[in-house]
């Protein structure tokens, strides 16, 4: 009956989201009076999960699972959920988790609520709060099936440490050829850059920057802060920046701790996409830009003067606080 949580790894290391979903699963398990079992695939070391409330880790080692494969991973989790008789399964909102979750939901005949932002309001009936209308609203959803699948929004719950150590158990689910009818032929990961999905700070540029040649300072600011770079929709549509950087309603959602918008006026679709970010800084030369109404901190000024100065100030700050 334990709460099952899928703790993701990258190159054998647990991702930060793994600790967040584990913390959340612990909260649900406390409500239900049960414990947390995690599933980790090809992980080097899972001991840290104990610190976030996991009691047992099912470790799966299988070379066929070196590349992520949604169908096969969903099969692993299904078999783990059945083995543990889990009634609640928790996954993250990573691209991979969102890929496997609907497959898993059908295989477990489970209702699935994605983009969940808080612990269940009640466990019977099982009601969770999630974002809807691309962060323009919240929606309380009741999952009415016996088994429930919860997809937790990134950075919505945070990490909750507790005392404890996790035991491990080797788990060898039986996988069949039908799990591998879609094959990865190549993976193209940008190296040396922080992905928007994992970033705690995002620095974003808009049309106010006048052209792709002016992105050097955006990248430098991102470097100083260890941040990801992003852009508004017009900027990606004009081909100044790749689509993968487009944040907003039809692009990527951003749920970072800090979002810095430079030369972005703040169209409603853009605001929806970044609304889940905790602190927003807006730099714009137009004091009437609608983005200021959605910001926590605003600077009215020419980005080409403000940003280079801000970079210098932040370098000083970093040097003094290293």
């Amino acid at each position: 009956m334990s709460v099952l949580v899928y703790t993701e790894t990258e190159n054998g290391k647990l991702k930060k989201t793994a600790f967040e979903v584990a913390s959340y699963a612990k909260g649900v398990a406390d409500m239900l009076g049960t414990s947390v079992t995690a599933v980790a695939v090809n992980a080097d070391d899972v001991s840290e999960l104990g610190k976030y409330g996991v009691e047992k880790v099912l470790t799966v080692s299988n070379d066929k699972l070196n590349n992520f494969n949604a169908k096969a991973y969903a099969d692993v989790l299904k078999q783990a959920a059945e083995k543990e008789s889990s009634k609640v399964v928790v996954v993250s909102s990573s691209a991979n988790a969102k890929f496997l979750a609907p497959i898993l939901a059908v295989n477990l005949n489970a209702g699935y609520a994605s983009n969940v932002v808080a612990l269940p309001e009640s466990d019977s009936p099982f009601k969770v709060k999630r974002t809807a209308f691309t962060n323009k609203a919240f929606n309380v959803t009741e999952i009415t099936t016996d088994v429930k699948l919860v997809g937790l929004s990134k950075n919505a719950f945070g990490l909750k440490e507790s005392d404890g150590a996790a035991s491990t158990e080797d788990f060898s689910p039986s996988l069949n050829d039908a799990d591998f009818t879609t094959e990865v032929s190549s993976v193209d990961k940008v190296t040396g850059k922080v992905p928007i999905a994992d970033a705690e700070i995002v620095v974003s540029g808009g049309r106010g920057l006048k052209g792709p040649e002016n992105w050097g300072m955006v990248e430098e600011l991102a470097d100083v802060l260890g941040a990801a770079t992003a852009c508004s929709k017009p900027v990606s549509d004009m081909g100044w920046r790749p689509h993968s950087e487009h944040v907003g309603q039809t692009g990527k959602p951003v749920a970072s701790n800090l979002y810095i918008a430079i030369g972005i006026s703040g169209a409603i679709q853009h605001l929806a996409g970044i609304n889940a970010s905790k602190v927003k800084v807006v730099i714009n030369n137009d004091p009437e830009a609608p983005f200021f109404k959605a910001a926590d901190y605003g600077v009215v000024g020419d980005a080409f003067e403000v940003v280079p100065q801000l970079i210098e100030k932040l370098k000083e700050f970093k040097a003094n606080n290293a």
Partner: protein
């Protein structure tokens, strides 16, 4: 190649979002409905397959009669025929079961990765699993040769190329085609759309797995704190000491 494109009928991206009936229903008053943007990228890619590879394109929506203008618009863009499954789309699992009842007849099903209203992001993957088809989510490129397909999907921090085969369901998004490739229906398309078949089918049995209980809007935001461009030390200080984000 027979292609089915799943179309959600959603509020335009500029819509103000409000609720009625004690915050239990979306307020459609004054709201313009459109083809879900993620579905429109998929529909446009389907048109490409029609033009270049002779595919036939059927569009489907699970919804009541008020969604028909959205289906007609898809026909005006160039789809060959439309199906409306006559029921309220109350839950992702339920919608996937409705689509599964007709999707078996198609080689390729193109849906958007999520609708921009409920953002459930589950219908394409559920549909694929129900009809035992291959599935690629967050798909940003799709090429087809015979019964096999090469798809590129966006992953966190990059992209991944996948080899797969029919039957195939994809959850598509921008990248399948560019924004500038999207088609605005012309008068001829609109006239022709009136004559195309729009078949209304009754729903199959299939219970809901979730229920939307209520809605709420985010709490209003506090005032913005303005910092002078001549005093950026203050901004750094605020971000460090007050907001504690650096």
């Amino acid at each position: 190649m027979k292609i089915l494109v799943c179309i959600s009928h959603v509020p335009d991206t500029t819509s103000k979002i409000n609720f009625t009936d004690g915050d239990t229903k979306f307020d459609t008053n004054g709201v313009q409905f459109v083809i879900n943007p993620n579905d429109e990228f998929g529909l446009t890619r389907a048109m490409w397959f029609k033009e270049k590879q002779g595919a036939s394109v059927t569009v489907v929506n699970v919804g009541e009669a008020d969604t028909e203008p959205t289906l007609r618009r898809a026909l005006a863009i160039g789809a060959d025929e439309a199906i409306r499954i006559n029921t309220k789309p109350t839950d992702g699992f339920f919608v996937a079961k409705q689509l599964a009842a007709i999707a078996k007849d198609f080689d390729l099903v193109i849906a958007g990765r999520e609708s921009i209203d409920y953002n459930g992001g589950m219908v394409p993957g559920m549909l694929a699993t129900l009809i035992d088809a291959n599935f690629v989510n967050n798909c940003i490129s799709l090429e087809v040769e015979g019964q096999t397909a090469t798809a590129i999907r966006e992953i966190d921090g990059g992209k991944e190329t996948l080899k797969t085969s029919f039957p195939l369901v994809i959850g598509g998004q921008k990248g399948l085609v560019e924004e500038s490739d999207l088609k605005i229906p012309n008068m001829r398309g609109i006239m022709m759309a009136r004559k195309k078949s729009l078949d209304v089918k009754e729903p199959v049995d299939g219970g809901n797995a979730t229920k939307a209980v209520s809605f709420e809007k985010p709490a209003p935001k506090g005032d913005v704190k303005m910092v002078s461009p001549d005093n950026l030390d203050e901004l750094v200080n605020l971000l460090h000491n007050d907001a504690k984000v650096i």
